[in-house]
């Protein structure tokens, strides 16, 4: 059941039914909408975002679960901190001393250096 409506919170306003791009709900204006076509949900989250009561949540069918896998993050060393600063300068509109954009050539950084945040230049 992709969208799940908490009937205790639902105020039967019908917004989720009105806005759903996939038209998965049915609604008769007296009680909480019913999920008539659960298999047609796009998991876009429009119903979650627009519900004024926070009554809607999304439940994933098994094939769509993200199986957890630990990230590689660790405390940044000096080289890595510099690389992350360059990354932030490049990717966020903050001008100071932006990194020289790479044209796509191999920069020769070792994998170990990559893991520590990329080869600082």
């Amino acid at each position: 059941m992709p969208p799940v409506i908490d009937k205790k919170l639902c105020n039967t306003c019908g917004i989720c039914y009105n806005i759903c791009p996939q038209d998965v709900f049915s609604f008769d204006r007296k009680q909480a909408p019913i999920i008539a076509y659960p298999q047609e949900c796009w998991y876009c989250g429009a119903c979650v975002v627009d519900c004024p009561k926070g009554a809607v949540s999304l439940t994933l069918p098994l094939p769509l679960h993200i199986v957890p896998s630990p990230a590689l993050y660790g405390p940044p060393g000096p080289q890595e901190r510099q690389a992350l600063e360059l990354a932030a300068d490049f990717s966020r509109s903050i001008e100071g001393d932006p990194a020289e954009p790479d044209s796509g050539q191999e920069t020769g950084g070792s994998d170990a250096a990559d893991r520590q945040g990329g080869k600082a230049r």
Binding site: A83, L84, G109, D114
Partner: protein
Amino acid sequence: MKQIEIQEHSCDICVVGGGLAGCMAAIRAAELNDDVILADKSNPERSGCAGTGLDHIWGYFPEVQSREGVSLEQMVEDHLQNVAHGLVNRPMLHYIAATSYERILDLERFGARIRFEDSTLPGKLRLQYQMHACRNTLHFEGRDIKRILAKAVRKAGARILDRVMVTELLTRDGQIAGVVGYGTRDGKIHRIRAKAVIMSTGRINRLYKPYPGLTFAIRMPPALTGDGKAAMFRAGAELINMEFLSIPGRWSSRNLIRGGGLPTGSYQPPGVGVNALGEVIRRRNHEVGNKTVYGTAKTFATGRSFQGELEAGRGPIYADMSWGSEEDQRYMLWAIENEGLGPGFLHIMKRYGLDFRKHKIELWPIEPEHSAAAAGGPMVDESCQTTVPGLYAAGDEAGGIPGSVAPGAFTMGYLAAESAAGRAAETGALRDGDGDGELLDFCNEILNRSTGDPWEDAQATIHNHMSDYNIRFRSETMARRGLECLEYLENNMRLTASNPHELTHCLEIRNLIECGKIIFRSTIERKESRGEIFQRRDYPEQDDANWLCFLGQKLENRQVRFRKHTP
């Protein structure tokens, strides 16, 4: 025998499809004409590719680009060579690049936030690199852009006809006379007479088998089934580029597929793409270069590709977005929250206990898509008019402008509205048109059939034929077989529907088959390969001498005709 009920409407200008292009078209049309209808299969509040958001729009921002020494002409040339590979409607591309910023200022007027205190760029704009070699993609707060636009549509005075799927066009003496839609909830046929029609129903998203095995678990809206392109073809409009695929082998989060940029894209300063050994395959944005990199086998600056890592036995591939300062992480979450499908993604992450600091996200190449980077659709002139007088197309609906995406939607929607308003002002009384006979027969047959094939079976058959005959082993003989199989499906399916929702899906099936047949026919005709968007086994070489052109396909007296057009 049951007959479907018909409801008549009329207006000066009918806009079909309420996504970014359709909303902008309806707003501008209603500013110029007080009799405008916007028909949407769903509801413009949350419909289309940007239904739950849009965090980036490219354009030419004079204050920033001129400082960086990039002229408008250079940016257009960059797009022409690197995004469109030389094959583009150049005047329209130029118009899009030149006026995108004006439309962005419209969005700001309508209520979208586009300026941010942390930016040190002129205008406090957050600008990123995306497809071009200069910083020209605005990062903005667009989660609710569709709600903002829908409000502006109503304020401008256009009438919104929601839950009406337009699937046929009416013509009279070769000119547009209106549209015909099906009420996805009321089950009626809505016949709308109009002096001018703007089509903006977007891409064709349900042709190819999705990797997760679930029909609706795809990157772009599954409600978009080529309704506009199929209708325009049947009405005699010439379609181009229909044989091309868009971004084959683009990577996204495995199974729970999202748009935006996992693992590429502009919004994750600290993110990297890694293999199973933890080796970095895609470095951080500033090391990769100015452009995002798409495609299965594309190598990154490391000289390695995700596909290559899988083939070398070093899969799976992950996006590791755990890096960066708290501020970097906040920025990334802000961007995801504002990009389409992002709010749902963050909601699901939280609900299932996932955290970018702690967890990598596994990546997988997603199913092929049509339109967008391939730009298949009706050929349009400098006014957005198709080859049918009075019929206009905007955004992803239109053919010939690869990578026009959001700015294409806003600018072409605006331009099509101006053209349509001009046309409506010059046109006399509304006229009755023809063209819905087959549609009415199709609906009535289904209404009177009690047993038969569910639409889901026909959908699965389309997925099989398109994926088997039009991706890996594309050739003339495979395309001929694909065409044969779609024609067999069309002639042998006996669709049933127990309510308007199911009949809507049956009509989508009809349009998907129409589009699939157009694609196979054009595939047979284009005897070459062209980059990653069109690979043929029997013609592996690019042949610019004969094929650096748009291949047009149209119906003339019920016969299919092809024509080459040099852009």
